[in-house]
């Protein structure tokens, strides 16, 4: 019964989405207030309906209802409760439902926090989001129904992929999708503005916090994926340039460009058309990412051939959304205008360079990800693009970006002077060079790659320090101590500093790991020990362990340094009972300056094992940097001026409507 209710709920949702996607938009075009006023209630109803369907699917998982095909494929009665719930988004159909759920969450948020916007604008935004929702609902109901029944009902389910049975996987997809779908707000606002032909500073000011919020979720989502790959895949890398990862990285790159160009559009009114284009691109890449990962084309382009309905629908949907919005853009963008002028050396120019570099980086990832697919689809052979490609392309592109992170925030809008900037940053530059060389020397050996990375990290750090110092240092005529002035810094600015600090931490972590990590695969029997980077790893024992739905061999590795015990590590090799798949569960001792990483490879003759023993310096700084970036974004998005403006505006609308009454 529950699955049928969910199914019914989705059908109703499709009807509501179809209404939401048409009437309010037409109403806005023809000036019919009774039609535009449908937008909010329709969006709220859609949220309730999709939410109900989502709960129905979750309930089917919790109740082990294996008569539902999707549950039977992705769950098992022995699966712990938290993974049964995570199983909802463990496969293709459920992830589509999760995506839709997130879209409804954003829609609800838009309908709640848009009181100060004119009714036609809200109608258009929610209408466009409704259309996207309708597309997804249609796709689900016609080709990927999560509630499809299975007959005869199997005794038990096929179990969730063991790789996904991990706390990181419980939160990674919702976070990632919140980010993906969050870009739909900027997209819908851009399309709404194109339809309405009205793109002013309000547009940018309103879009900015939403886009930044979406970007934060995406950043955290990608970070969680990276951490998961680090400890679950069992060989200690944190980024593989795998197409699945690239699919989430491309919207992030476009989104990063977007939040920076939105800053220019809001503050200076420049880059208007470009910002609109970026909003369209960021969301299009999110759609592309969702489909690339979830349609199965990455593992085989011929996945489409086995289910042509799905493939054609996806292609059609992408063409309509991306093509349609680009056509609209080409038609309407000339009326937007380019915005105000700025000098050759100015903060605008630097942010423009930032944008160009991020977009080029995004395109290079796109090329590396889609080219092999295209070649394969045309039957021209199988190739793959090696990770060295991405590394070779990315480093030269990111070096100037990071240099700009240092000088951009210090440069004045409209017109800046290079000699003046150089003078202000001379101390930062000096300290950067000394600190970078010193760090390399302290780590034992100086290499070009690591020094480059350290230079970037310290450059960002010292230029932020310069910036803050210039703003808070005691100067004549202004009262209050340094602390009082620190408190006076606008929250959005603090957010920028924190996010850029995250870039520094990230660059530092990456350079440290890439250059100074030590990885060793060794054959060890119980009683053997090996030394890596000054740490002694002693293989103390092995025992069998029974998990809830797996059997495991658990090793005991005692780590000591200079005779003093550091930590006991328990790496495991698990066999999940249902699918009989082996899984490596690495044991990690995380630390501020290093991670100790041990995983069991495979048993060899004589009771010995091949064991991976890694020492990874500062690896946690990579994810710490991502967290700082997301935190900075959250600070910026919650800046008072967005809320104050809204309050004032809503107060004035109330006042004016009161006056009318």
């Amino acid at each position: 019964m529950i699955p049928e209710l969910g199914q019914l709920s989705l059908l109703l949702a499709l009807a509501v989405a179809a209404i939401l996607g048409t009437l309010p938009i037409i109403g806005a075009a023809q000036g019919k207030p009774q039609w535009t006023s449908l937008a909010r209630p329709a969006a709220q109803t859609l949220f309730l309906l999709v939410g109900f369907a989502f709960v129905c699917l979750a309930a089917s998982f919790v109740r082990n209802d294996f008569s539902v095909l999707y549950v039977a494929t992705n769950s098992n009665s022995a699966l712990p409760l938290q993974y049964r719930i995570a199983g909802v988004w463990g496969g293709h159909e459920g992830s589509l439902l999760l995506w839709l759920m997130m879209l409804c969450v954003w829609m609800l948020a838009v309908s709640q926090f848009s009181k100060h916007l004119p009714a036609p604008v809200v109608a258009r935004i929610l209408g466009v989001m409704g259309l996207i929702g309708a597309g997804f609902l249609l796709f689900m109901l016609t080709t990927s129904n999560p509630f499809e029944r299975l007959f005869p009902v199997p005794m038990d389910g096929n179990d969730l992929n063991p790789l996904l049975q991990d706390p990181g996987m419980v939160v990674h997809p919702p976070m990632l999708y919140m980010g993906y779908v969050g870009f739909s707000v900027a997209f819908s606002f851009a399309v709404a503005a194109l339809l309405g032909g009205n793109l002013d500073a309000t547009w940018a000011r309103w879009t900015r916090p939403w886009t930044t919020a979406a970007w934060c979720f995406l950043t955290v989502g990608i970070m969680l994926g990276s951490i998961w790959a680090y400890y679950v895949l069992g060989w200690g890398g944190w980024w593989f340039w795998d197409p699945v990862e690239n699919a989430s990285f491309m919207p992030w790159l476009a989104g990063t460009a977007l939040i920076h160009s939105l800053a220019v559009t809001e503050k200076r009114g420049a880059f208007k058309s470009w910002t609109v284009l970026l909003a369209i691109v960021a969301f299009s890449l999110s759609l592309l990412g969702t489909f690339l990962v979830r349609s199965g084309v990455l593992s085989s382009v011929h996945a489409f051939a086995t289910d042509p309905g799905r493939g054609l629908f996806i292609l059609g949907f992408l063409v309509v959304v991306i093509g349609g919005s680009l056509v609209l853009y080409a038609w309407r963008a000339p009326s937007i205008g380019l915005g105000s002028r700025f000098g050759l050396v100015s903060r605008e120019t630097m942010l423009l360079m930032n944008n160009v570099l991020f977009v080029v980086a995004m395109l290079s990832v796109l090329l590396g990800t889609l080219y092999p697919l295209a070649l394969d689809a045309m039957g021209m052979g199988k190739i793959s693009v090696g990770p060295p490609y991405f590394a070779t392309v990315f480093v030269p592109l990111m070096v100037p970006v990071i240099f700009l992170v240092g000088i951009g925030p210090l440069a004045r809008w409209k017109q800046a002077e290079l000699p003046e900037l150089a003078k202000r940053l001379r101390w930062a530059a000096g300290i950067t060079v000394v600190a970078a060389l010193l760090t390399g020397w302290l780590m034992g050996h100086v290499t070009a790659g690591a020094t480059m990375g350290f230079l970037m990290a310290f450059w960002v750090l010292t230029s932020i320090a310069t910036d803050i110092w210039e703003r808070v240092r005691p100067s004549g005529g202004v009262h209050g101590g340094i602390l009082a002035r620190v408190r006076l810094l606008p929250r959005a600015m603090v957010g920028m500093f924190v996010a850029h600090l995250g870039v520094a931490a990230f660059a530092f972590g990456v350079s440290m790991v890439n250059t100074y990590e030590v990885e060793r695969d060794v054959k060890m029997a119980v009683g053997d020990s090996t030394e890596v980077s000054g740490y002694t790893f002693f293989f103390a024992g092995l025992k069998n362990v029974d998990g809830p739905n797996y059997d495991a061999v658990r090793g005991l590795v005692e780590v000591s340094r200079n005779g003093r015990k550091v930590e006991e590590l328990h790496p495991e090799k698990r066999i999940y009972r249902v699918q009989r798949n082996p899984m490596t569960e690495a044991a990690i001792d995380p630390g501020f300056t290093r991670d100790l990483y041990v995983s069991l490879g495979e048993p060899v003759e004589g009771g010995a094992w091949i064991v991976r023993v890694y020492v990874k310096p500062f690896v946690d700084w990579i994810w710490g940097g991502c967290l700082l970036m997301a935190l900075g974004g959250a600070l910026a998005a919650s800046d008072r001026r967005y809320r104050v403006k809204q309050k004032q505006e809503s107060a004035s609308t109330i006042a004016s409507s009161g006056a009318q009454a």
Partner: protein
Amino acid sequence: MKPRQKRLAIIGGIVAAVGVATALVLNAFQSNLVFFYSPSQVASKEAPVGRTFRLGGLVEAGSLKRDGVTVSFLVTDTVKTIPVRYQGILPDLFKEGKGVVAQGQVGPDGVFVAREVLAKHDENYMPPEAGEALKRAGQPPMKTSGTIMKEAGK
């Protein structure tokens, strides 16, 4: 500078930056394309010597030998068989009789020295390259399903 010159300078700058980036990207792209060959192609010397490529097929049953951290096995497309040597830990799903993809180079002795061994994390899964190799050798394609990729080696 006049506004017109300024705009030209900005546009010129962007064009130059994008041009340099494109050259960089295409160059790196060209030298990092990894082509795929089946065991039959490698046996008939179609695969390049001294360049990295991917070899896919089935791990021949009973061919796996270990010597400390070095392993060797045979990859077959049921017509031809190529010996592979690899140093390190094999992925969890590496099994005799199952599909495998190895990335590396052929040595002068005809042994494929793998720097990376890939297997997909699903017992029914056939890596696309391995499936392709079997198809080229005239074998019926096997079931595939999309799951997350697991790689071993570096």
